[in-house]
Symmetry: C2
Subunit: 231 residues, 2 copies
Amino acid sequence: MSLRHALLALLEAEPMSGYSLAKFFDQSVAYVWHAPHSQIYPELRRMEQAGMITGRSEARGTFATKRIYSLTDDGRAELARWVEELSPLPRERDAAYLKSSYFEYGDYASARKHFEAHRAHHEEQRRRWEAHVKQLENRDTDLLRIRLAQAPEHLRKQVVAYKVHVYHGLIERAKQEVRWALAGLRMVDELEAETVAARPAPAGTPRKAVERTKSAGPPTRVSRRHEPPRR
Amino acid sequence: MSLRHALLALLEAEPMSGYSLAKFFDQSVAYVWHAPHSQIYPELRRMEQAGMITGRSEARGTFATKRIYSLTDDGRAELARWVEELSPLPRERDAAYLKSSYFEYGDYASARKHFEAHRAHHEEQRRRWEAHVKQLENRDTDLLRIRLAQAPEHLRKQVVAYKVHVYHGLIERAKQEVRWALAGLRMVDELEAETVAARPAPAGTPRKAVERTKSAGPPTRVSRRHEPPRR
DNA sequence: GACTGCATGTAACGAGTTACATGATTGG
DNA sequence: CCAATCATGTAACTCGTTACATGCAGTC
């Protein structure tokens, strides 16, 4: 139930409406745990039901109202409990790596396209995280300012340090993914070079022809060969 | 829909029952994408409905039967399509890092406990992946042998290479996570040392006493401080 | 005859995604 | 008055988790 606890942590900084919560969420927690507003509003109602937060309606303009939620003691206790508690680390589930395991069902161009996209994605992520960690280090986000203003002096250092450490971790991860993608691209080059070497084409033959050069063997399109196993 | 395509890929190697599928799954794909059998059986039925696989019932002993699924041409096409297709990389969602961002709500011991568990988990993962990649490199798993026996010669190298690359990536990731956890532990030490320095205890005072040494200020247990925000 | 492995499921729930939907307020 | 932004939702669906449930087959 990470969403719930992320919301508790945000409300610990300051009472807010669901809308502001969603805004702050996008600018902070969402870098680590994404959630759309359609998940936030109902969760807030469930949390209120469970007594972790209370909402009071506040006027907005003449006719409209908004609902401001604040933490209850139970909510604070739940937040503390969650932070203490070791949660089981999730099972591995990585769609990109799964697909990469089966690139032999596609061609070299496809493998390259995927590794290239992987690289681009994680470079972008890295940029975003680096920008954000810089803000954190300068204590330059709205949320952090609020939090620091409230935290007792001896905790301020920790408030920043833990978050910075998390973002450094994310950045290193992103770098690792970029390295992995680049190594993947090099690997594809090598595999292709070997294919070419194994089937030497007459000088000047365009690269494309590689697919169907040898005449030996059955018509071997890449994904053929599917008789039921003889046993 | 990664589960579906993982199953297609397994069936591409050899027709199998749901049960064997689940077994092979656990010994291969599950290192990258975990799924329990309760998810596999219904998915197989849906895939049959969709025409990607066909099942025939086969006798087992005198009374029992089992259902053996094989890929159809549509299934093969779907597998090829999926491998070609760029799927959007998933949004970040990391419960452990999220919680780490808020370690200031717990005490140093709790932060240490978490980083320590993180380290242990990823060291274990690394061991498992290293063992598996060794098997892959030696072409020493049942599934890989089947696959290699069927694959046209020019694809064999790729079949192994892509998988090995994936596991190398996972191993590097695990190492990175271990480094992150260790850095976290060092950080906690530093934070605690600073706390001690800021509240100098009489020489000879045992470390434990740090928590309640100074008499100035309110009774400040490390994880206290949860009055509603005064403003 | 008991235990282990083979074989296949259901049901309830929780979490997350995408799309649709509506209306008030504020500032230019 | 129009657009952006504040504000709050619902509905349908997919995916995944956990627990419960059943029964045959082979072997010691």
